[in-house]
């Protein structure tokens, strides 16, 4: 058989292509598009939610804060209905008009959450101009993990990361914003999120000193675990807190976790709706669904993170927590951090 493609078929094919491209959406049933971190939308939860609502929930799992931003900003919020984001990052989405405020009347479960997350006006970062832009879901502190065989007595300050005794045995986290903040805390600076030019210069010097003391800067908890397993590591700046502790203990590591006396940074992940949300009710139903006690419990059991619904071991009430905030100039911090890393 010879292929007979005349002008008319060629033309109709060309015309039909966009229609085929868009038809998949047009006939779809109710659909919720979710962007989440691994562990925030487990298969069994998604299935239960679908059974309850009769809608299809499609989840895209994401690997870094940077990608969430690139994806949401690049599509101007049109690619997703609801996404997980921490309160510090959230601010740039609100600035960019990329979020849709929540309607609390559609979130009955929010009334049942832990006392410290009930009054959202007291949770730093989730509200702006009287509107609720995101709902707290999960949190943790960023403390110190230490190997009990190698570090004795237990550390109580971040200063230990500069101790030459542990040179080449330290894992730190690869993020300029956080590193400037925690170094500021270590140096006794009151507000680590709004630094002056002079303070930044001093912190940069101290970070260069830190760089020569660490083995590597990691980005994911599993990466840190692998590094720990195949190297002589004594101390870890635990960006992922309890989750890392759980993973490392599961792997048989003899480690412990402390929140240092100068205060540990703490992050809070929340659910926000995009500006391009297609079905607000369905998106709210998703958030409300995840605020159940059962889900909170399972989240903490599976990941080790603290949840906002059920009290868990994460970050006890006596620990000094410094909630992450949008920093004065992320671009500047990133540039300075690049300069630190570029030091030979």
């Amino acid at each position: 058989m010879t292929l007979k493609l005349n002008r008319r078929t060629a033309l109709s094919l060309a015309l039909a292509a966009p229609a085929i491209l868009s038809s998949s959406r047009a006939f779809a049933a109710k659909e919720l598009r979710v962007m989440a971190w691994q562990g925030y939308a487990d298969d069994d939860w998604v299935k239960e939610f679908q059974d309850q609502t009769g809608a299809k929930a499609n989840v895209l799992f994401i690997g870094t804060d940077d990608e969430i931003w690139a994806k949401i900003k690049g599509s101007e919020g049109k690619d997703f209905d609801v996404f997980a984001v921490n309160t510090a990052q959230l601010q740039r989405y609100i600035d960019g008009g990329l979020t849709t405020p929540h309607d609390l009347s559609k979130l009955p479960n929010q009334k049942e959450v832990l006392p410290r997350f009930q009054d959202l006006s007291k949770v730093k970062g989730v509200m702006r101009d009287g509107k609720v832009h995101s709902i707290p879901f999960c949190f943790d502190s960023i403390g110190i993990i230490y190997d009990k065989d190698k570090v004795n007595p237990a550390p109580d300050t971040f200063e230990i990361f500069w101790d030459p005794k542990y040179k080449g045995k330290i894992l730190a986290y690869d993020n300029g914003e956080h590193n400037f903040s925690f170094t500021a805390l270590t140096m006794g600076i009151e507000d680590p999120f709004h630094l002056t030019e002079e303070q930044m210069g001093k912190i940069k010097e101290k970070l260069i000193a830190l760089k020569s003391n660490v083995l590597s800067f990691y980005t994911t908890p599993d990466e840190a675990l692998q590094l720990y397993k195949s190297n002589d590591v004594a101390l870890i700046w635990a960006n992922y807190g309890q989750q890392q502790v759980k993973a490392m203990k599961d792997a048989g590591a003899n480690i412990e976790y402390v929140n240092p006396k100068e205060g540990a940074l703490a992050w809070l992940d929340t659910w926000a709706m995009t500006s391009g949300v297609q079905d607000v009710d369905l998106a709210e139903a998703w958030v409300n669904f995840l605020l159940q006690k059962k889900i909170g419990q399972q989240l903490s059991e599976r990941t080790g993170f603290g949840n906002t619904v059920v009290e868990t071991g994460s970050a006890g009430a006596s620990d000094k927590l410094v909630w992450l905030d949008f920093v004065e100039d992320p671009t500047k911090r990133s540039d300075l951090w690049n300069e630190v890393k570029a030091q030979p």
Binding site: Q38, D43, F61, G63, T220, D222
Partner: protein, 266 residues
């Protein structure tokens, strides 16, 4: 290709062996561990088990992602081969307007860091109102691997040389006949090689995919997201299966398309 003395052949085999040792060492670890029980992230070498494989069958999300990856990889490599051949035939045909510039354009998506290619395509799709889906992923991958297929085909086409084609035309063959009888047979091995390479590239592409997809995940995206909580043991099983299947697929492709004896290798 030439009569080599025995010691030279021996030396070549030895070097190839070392290269294979390098190439395969990272593959062996996950595959071997897939056949043992894993508790608390440690492989239990005394306890052979197929538990990882059993766990995999229950992981619908991952299997769907694998399916998507295969669809995208296959479509993108076929599309890029077709487009690459057409482009190569056009741009090899004597002087065409702005040839150098157009070639650079074809190379660009490959030369740019993936985040640039990804973001610009995402913004392009957004502006033109094309919803993000597996379709856009396929288009993006085609654009991305096009550089590689195009380049490979051009190099081969140039080596065929104009004489054969001139001879064919002089004998009264139409352009279509020349293409089918002269160009295509000479391109076959190149096309398959380019196809496999572009499939491999597409199979692993993470950043562009992430930016231009809708809510469909491919395997690299799932793996990338999993890094936060760590890989579950069933990933080892998955890796072993994928490797077995793709190897089988390659063998079949080679057997069906390039029968060992008919190939004018010597």
């Amino acid at each position: 290709m030439m009569r080599l003395p025995g010691y030279a052949i021996g030396a070549l085999w030895a070097m190839t062996g070392v290269v294979f040792l390098l190439l395969y060492s990272p593959l062996v670890i996950p595959i071997v561990s897939s056949f043992f029980a894993i508790t608390h992230g440690e492989v239990q070498w005394h306890d052979p088990s197929l538990a990882s494989y059993a766990a995999l069958t229950a992981n619908a999300g991952i299997l769907e992602a694998v399916g998507n990856t295969l669809i995208v990889g296959f479509s993108a490599s076929v599309l890029s081969i077709v487009c690459g051949t057409l482009l190569a035939i056009h741009y090899c045909g004597g002087k065409s307007l702005g040839r150098e510039a157009m070639q650079f354009a074809i190379y660009l998506p490959f030369l740019m860091p993936p985040i640039i290619t990804g973001l610009s395509l995402l913004i392009f799709f957004r502006e033109t109102g094309i919803p993000r889906s597996l379709m856009t992923v396929i288009v993006a991958h085609t654009v991305f691997v096009q550089a590689l297929t195009y380049r490979t085909i051009v190099v081969r086409l140039q080596s065929i040389g104009p004489e054969m084609i001139e001879a064919s035309t002089d004998l009264g063959a139409s352009a279509w006949q020349t293409f089918i009888h002269i160009i295509l047979p000479n391109l076959a091995s190149t096309l398959i090689g380019a196809g496999v390479l572009s499939f491999a590239l597409s199979f692993d592409e993470t950043m562009i995919t992430l930016l231009v997809t809708g809510t469909d995940s491919t395997l690299p995206i799932r793996l990338w997201a999993m890094m936060r909580l760590g890989f579950s043991p069933d990933i080892n099983a998955l890796v072993a299966i994928i490797l077995a299947l793709t190897t089988l697929l390659c063998i079949l492709a080679v057997r069906l398309l390039l029968p060992g004896e008919a190939q004018p290798a010597e």
